[in-house]
Symmetry: C3
Subunit: 229 residues, 3 copies
Amino acid sequence: MVPGAGETGAVTSQIFPSDVQQTLDLVGIFVFALSGGLLAVRKNMDIFGICVLAEVTALGGGVMRDLVIGATPVAAFSNLGYFSTPLAAGLVVFFLHPQVERINRSVQTLDALGLGLFCVTGTAKAHDYGLGSVASVALGMVTAAGGGVMRDVLAQDIPSLLRWDREIYAVPALIGSAGTAVLIAVDHLTAATGTTAALTAFLLRMFALKFGWRAPRAWHRNGSRTSEE
Amino acid sequence: MVPGAGETGAVTSQIFPSDVQQTLDLVGIFVFALSGGLLAVRKNMDIFGICVLAEVTALGGGVMRDLVIGATPVAAFSNLGYFSTPLAAGLVVFFLHPQVERINRSVQTLDALGLGLFCVTGTAKAHDYGLGSVASVALGMVTAAGGGVMRDVLAQDIPSLLRWDREIYAVPALIGSAGTAVLIAVDHLTAATGTTAALTAFLLRMFALKFGWRAPRAWHRNGSRTSEE
Amino acid sequence: MVPGAGETGAVTSQIFPSDVQQTLDLVGIFVFALSGGLLAVRKNMDIFGICVLAEVTALGGGVMRDLVIGATPVAAFSNLGYFSTPLAAGLVVFFLHPQVERINRSVQTLDALGLGLFCVTGTAKAHDYGLGSVASVALGMVTAAGGGVMRDVLAQDIPSLLRWDREIYAVPALIGSAGTAVLIAVDHLTAATGTTAALTAFLLRMFALKFGWRAPRAWHRNGSRTSEE
């Protein structure tokens, strides 16, 4: 742990006023948890599987970031709201999953909002703990996308982050994180500019979904080695 | 790391006299390791696969707990007995796996004993490191069930913890962990009450196995999306 | 974190002169990243999947080691060269993967060199952080092989480390790590002896590849349970 970081640990990533930040965090956690719970239902898991996958999806990225920067005990386990919100999302999915499926488009919108928010706060927290710009950007992306990767690994899917046939997820996170790192570097990270970075990532993700933006696969791929062509 | 936790780190989770605790820990580690080794044999792995899966199953939950609470270096790597016991279990499986398979019922019994023990000591250790009650309960469950999840991920199975068609595992762990947290909250965690909590979790798991207790899947599941009906 | 380890953290595992060490580390990271990128191409992933798998393969083992010993922020995120090298390897694979496939034999040779180097430096770093000999050997093996395991888990393969039908990987790492631990114990770990340990592991791995050395599976396997016979 960075000396003295224990102090700032409680107020870290404090771009927004404390209660606004907390509300935004919980909204992001809730929608990430919904996506985990829905995958658990599709995989025919029971209520505990639903709750575990909701927890992992919502908190996994932040836990990975906190472990890497040495912010222990990790925030997900020291903040009761962070921990109980995914359980609530899991119960919502358990009782109402057909309805949640039906508003899947809205869930994707909220997930994009979580993506935008977490890449900004993840980058800011990593920087607070003394990491350099590039590492902070990487950890912002880990915060935003790590939970989804853990969700897919536990459910035995190839992580959708890695699949060519899914709309891009890493690029919006990269741009939101990099924008945040630049704002920190020029000492201009405020609630307004941080929101702008988060919104940029959010909108890029929404456009990617709307227009089906995908990333290229390797050049000169040898068709005989690939399995999905 | 919690200030001063380094001191208590060595004697943490000390509900029982030191030698009794150590013996119980090693028994739990040994039987968890057997379950990992047996899965490795079924998956046709070689002797190193058997030993790696034995290590991961036996120690994975405790390692995850120690990383989250910041108890580094983690106990599994600073205690020679913790580390070498799974290797012994791996060798037993390597040479004697048909016999171990035959006493599978006994292995499940011992595994339930490990479950009971680890949810209690995991909860107590998390609390020693300053985590709140809910987080301590969660980490007790992680200690008891995390190694099995890592075992299944490495062996490319859906974690049995998450599957609806397996007897409940999370509920016994939850009740054992929650009981321990209550005992800590009212300052009555002793060898006797801790044993009671562990036995409760153990017996619940045994009943679940005997009577085939399963947890419900999501309500109103849409049959066309599910794969196992 | 071990008290005072922050100091030595920067110069830890310093068997070789600083610039030689750094160069060797980057070579090892680069070739590990190539193997991750190539698997991503075979799995039909896009450029981000290639880069993510390159990063995870190259840095995963070291990150696991640093988390276990409490060396946070982990080296992979505090050293810009460590982080950007896998990206370069990912781009090489993206543009030139047919050529990289063609020199696959050379990649395996370089991978064996990375294996040799990382088991030695991983063992030395764990010892620097106060871990005992057996734990240091285990962490040397984790450093050398952990990234490959994470690569295979993310790509939904059974980790090749665990498969009986692949040439042995764990034994060379074990011998290189154990040799290093013995050298530390007798206080004779120098650039010359460390190189010898790394070369021993490297040559064992090369022989294993050349002569198809495999490890035995469990005795008296019951054919009806196994899937690959």
